[in-house]
Subunit: 570 residues, 2 copies
Amino acid sequence: MTLSKYLPILTWGRQYNRTALSNDLVAAVIVTIMLIPQSLAYALLAGLPPEAGLYASIAPILLYAVFGTSRALAVGPVAVVSLMTAAALSNIVEQGTMGYGIAALSLAALSGVILLGMGLFRLGFIANFLSHPVISGFITASGIIIAASQLKHILGIDAAGHNLLDLGLSLITNLPEIHWITAVIGALATGFLFWVRKGLKPLLQRLGAGEGVTDVLVKTGPVAVVVVTTFSVWAFGLAAQGVAIVGDVPQNLPPLTLPSFSPDLLGQLLLPAFLISIIGFVESISVAQTLAAKKRQRIDPDQELIGLGVANIGASLTGGFPVTGGFSRSVVNFDAGAQTPAAGAFTAVGLAIAALALTPLIFFLPKATLAATIIVAVLSLVDFSILKRSWGYSKADFAAVLITILMTLAMGVEAGVSAGVMLSIVLHLYKSSKPHIAEVGQVAGTEHYRNILRHEVITDPAVVTLRVDESLYFANARYLEDRIHNRVAGDKSIRHVILQCSAINEIDLSALESLEMINERLREMGVTLHLSEVKGPVMDRLKEQHFLKEMTGNVYLSQYEAAQKVRALC
Amino acid sequence: MTLSKYLPILTWGRQYNRTALSNDLVAAVIVTIMLIPQSLAYALLAGLPPEAGLYASIAPILLYAVFGTSRALAVGPVAVVSLMTAAALSNIVEQGTMGYGIAALSLAALSGVILLGMGLFRLGFIANFLSHPVISGFITASGIIIAASQLKHILGIDAAGHNLLDLGLSLITNLPEIHWITAVIGALATGFLFWVRKGLKPLLQRLGAGEGVTDVLVKTGPVAVVVVTTFSVWAFGLAAQGVAIVGDVPQNLPPLTLPSFSPDLLGQLLLPAFLISIIGFVESISVAQTLAAKKRQRIDPDQELIGLGVANIGASLTGGFPVTGGFSRSVVNFDAGAQTPAAGAFTAVGLAIAALALTPLIFFLPKATLAATIIVAVLSLVDFSILKRSWGYSKADFAAVLITILMTLAMGVEAGVSAGVMLSIVLHLYKSSKPHIAEVGQVAGTEHYRNILRHEVITDPAVVTLRVDESLYFANARYLEDRIHNRVAGDKSIRHVILQCSAINEIDLSALESLEMINERLREMGVTLHLSEVKGPVMDRLKEQHFLKEMTGNVYLSQYEAAQKVRALC
C-alpha cells in the first residue's frame, strides 16, 4: 500500500496489457520525432551543447515513469526552465566552458533535491503562493525574452543578456554584423513554421484531411524544417560561407556524470534552483492536472514533487540540466493516445537510439533553424489578455501581473517572479490589515443580518452590531481597536456592541490582547461587549482564556439570538 | 484646521493656563533629575560619549512638543533603540572614532526621514506587522543582551559583541583581567539599585511615608548612587587606581552638527534605520496610547510618526543619536502631573542647564555606576511569561516569540526582529493556505447553519453545504478545488453543492479561476453549484464576471433561503 503510493508504477504496471502497449508505442514514436529538434533547441537556449538536450530527455523520462502519478506527462527540457537555467548559470560561469556544463548538472541536482525534499515533507503548498496572474505574466514575459534571445541565431550575430533591455541593446549594437545567408535561412524557417501553425491547418481541412492527419502533419512541421535546412546547408556548402551549424555531436548514450558539490557554487545556485523548482513544478502540475481531469484520473501533488525531484537528480547524473513536465510534449503525448507512463519509457528508448545513431545527420543543422523552432513555440505562450482581465477584476491582481511582466522584461526571470510573488503577498497582507467592517441590521421578516448601507434592515439605536470581514490577527488588531473606538465614542445612545464573528476565522494572540483592550475601554464608557456566531475552532481557543470571563457581555450562537437577548437587556 | 492637525501645539497652546504651567514645571524638575544619569547611561550603551545622551534629550523633546499628539510622552534615548544603534554602527565604523559619532547622526537623520515619510504617506500600518508576541519576545531578549553588554563596565574588563554568544564568550575570556575595585563599586551600585526597587518601597510604606513621597524617593535612587559613587571615586582617588570614569565632558549647549550624506554609509544604514524606526515607533505609540487612554485623550498614529520623525532629525542636527518615546521617562512625567507637552520643553531647558553647568560634577562618575543603572532598568523589561501565555493560546504565536528571543540572543537585534516578523507572516500565510472548511447543516428550529461535526443539525443527502472559513485567494485556491472534488467524487447521492460564503471576505483572480474550474468539474459530474451569503464587496466584483452566468446554480441572500430553494429543485 505505502510502497505503491511512492511507486505509482506498481499500480499501473500490474494492469498493463497489449492495448496499452500498442497505444503507448504509437504515442512514443510521434513524441520522439517531435522531441529531437525540441531537445536540441532547448539545450541551445540553456547555453549548453545540443546533445545535453537529448540526454536530459532520456533518464528523466524513465525515472518519472516509475515515480510520477500522471499518465501522460512528458518530462524533459522546457522553454522557461531552460531560460532560467541560462540566466542562473551565466551569472556564475562563462558559457561554453567545462564549468558551465558542470554547473548545469549541479543546478539540476540541487533542484532535484529541493523538489524531492518538498515532496517528502509535503511542502507542495509553497507553490500555491505563485498566483495565477503572476504565472501568466511570468510566462508571457519569459516568452518574449526567449524569442529575443534567439534573434541572434536567426541573424547570425553576437548578443548577450538575460533581460529585454540588455538583449535589445546588444542586438542593436551588433546588427551591422548581420550574416545575410543565416538571416535568410532563419527568416524562411520562422515564416514557414508560423505558416504551418496558422495557415496549414485550415488548408488541410479545406482539402478534406481528417483531424488526426492534420494534427500530425502540423506537429511534424519542425522536423520538416530541420530536414530541409540541414540538407540545404550541406548541399550548398553554406557552413563554409559562415552559417553557424550544430557540428560534431558525440555519438553515444547519456554519459554518467557527477555534479560539483563545491559549497560556494551550490550557495550561488540555491536561490535560482529554488525558483526553477517552483516554476517547473507549477508548470508541470498544471499540465498534469489538466490532462488527468479529461480522463477522471487523480494527480497527487506531493508524489509529483517526488517524481520531478528524482527526474532532475537523474538529469544531473546523465549529462543533462534542469527538466520538468512540458506543456507541448505532454499534450502531444496525450493526443497521440499515450495510456501509461510506459509511453514515456519508449520515448526514452527512441531518443537513446537518436543519440547513438542519428547525431551525424544533424552535423549540418543550422542553429538558425533551432532558433526558429524556439521562437515559434514560445510566441504562442505570449498572451497579454491577462492584463485586461485582471484590470477589470481586481487592481491588486493587475498590479501583480504588471510588475511581474515589467520586472521580468527589465531585470530577468529571477527578479520578475520574485517581485510578482512578493507583491501579491504584500498586497494581500495590506488588504487584510485594513479589513472591511460592516455595521449590520436585521433583514425584515428573516433571522438574517446584513450591511445597513446595502440592505433595508431594522436597527436599534442602543445596540450596534459590527461584522468584521477578516480574521483578526496582528496586522489588523490595532485597526479594529480604532474603528470600534471611533464608532462608539461619538454616539452617546449606544449601550451595547455586538461583534458578529461569522467572518472571523482566527483570533491570534495580538488580536486577543486587542479584544481585551476593547472590552476594557468599552467598559469605561459604560458599553457592554457581546460576541455572536463565533466559529468552533475560534471558540475552542477563547474558552480557556480569561478574556471570556472578563468580557462584560455574552457569547451567542447566532446573531439573531444575540439581538433578541441583548434587546431584552436594554 | 489643517495646520493645527500637523501642529498639535496650536490646539493645546491656545488653552494653556497657570495651573497647567505649575503642573508642567513640577513634572519637568522631577523628570530632569531622573534623565541626567539615564541619558548619560544610554549614550554609553550606544557607544557614544556621555554628552551625546544629554544632547539627544534636548532638541528632540522641544520638537516633539510642537509636533506630537501625546500630552505626556517624553522623547529621548531609550534602552532598546540605543542597543540597536550600537549594533548598527559597530558593523560599519570603529567605536570611539570621529566617524562613529557622525554615523550616529546619519542614523538618526535617516530614521527621522523614514518616520516622517511614513507619517506623511500614512504608512503607519506597517508597524502593525510587528505582532504583540514578537515585540514582547524582542524586548525581553534585548533586555538580556543590554544587561550582558554592561557587565564589562561592572567588572572593569574589555568585551565586545552584539549578541549573547559573542558577549558571553568575550566576557569569559577576559574575566581574569577583572578590576576588583571597579567590580566592588559596580556590585554595590547594582545591589543598591535593586534594593531601592524591591526593598525600599515596602520599607518606606511600613514607616508610614505617603505614596507620592515613596515614589519620588524610589525614582531618585539612581541619582543617589551617582552622587555617592562619584564622591567616593574623587575622595579616595580611585581613578588613579584604574577605575574607569566618565572624565571630561564638554560644557556647552548642544552643538549644531551635520550628518554625513555619503551614499555608501546611508546604504549600509538603511535597513538598521528602518528597523530602529519601526521598533521605536511601536514602543512610543504603545506608551502614548496607554497614557492617553487614562485621560480619554486621542493619539493620531500618523501625526506621531511625524512628531518622532522631526525629533530624530532634530537629534541628528544637534549632536544626538536615534531617539523615541521612552516608557519609564514618560510614565514618570505622567505620574509627576505633566499636563501638556510644555512639561517636555521645560525638561529640555533643565537638561540644557545641566549640559552647560553640571558636567564638571560628573568628571569622577564611574562608568560602572552608569552600567548598574542600565542593568537594573532593563532587567525589568525581561519577562518570559509571554512564552507560557502564547504556548497555551496558539502554537504559531509561541513559535514567533521563541524564534524572536532565540535569534535576538544568538544573532543580535536586527536578525531577531526580522526573523520574528518574517515567521509570523509566513505562519499566517501558511494557516490561510489550508483553511478550515466546515460542512454545515440547519440548527433545528432556527434559520442558522452550523458545522455538522459540532452541532445537532438537519442535513439532506442530496445537498452538501460547505462553509469555507477563509477568504479565497491564490494561496488556498487549489486547496479548495481538491477539497470539493474529494467530497463530491466519493458520494453519488450528491446533486447540489452550496458554498456558504459568509466567511469569504475576498475572492481574487486566482480563486475566481478556481471557482470556474470547480463549477466546470461539478457540471461534468452532474452536480449543481450554488452560492449563499456572498458579501456585498465580493458580489460587486463577481457581478461583472462571466462566472456567474456560467455557474450552474444560483446565488442566494441567506443560507436558509438557499437550502429552501435548492431542496425544491431536487
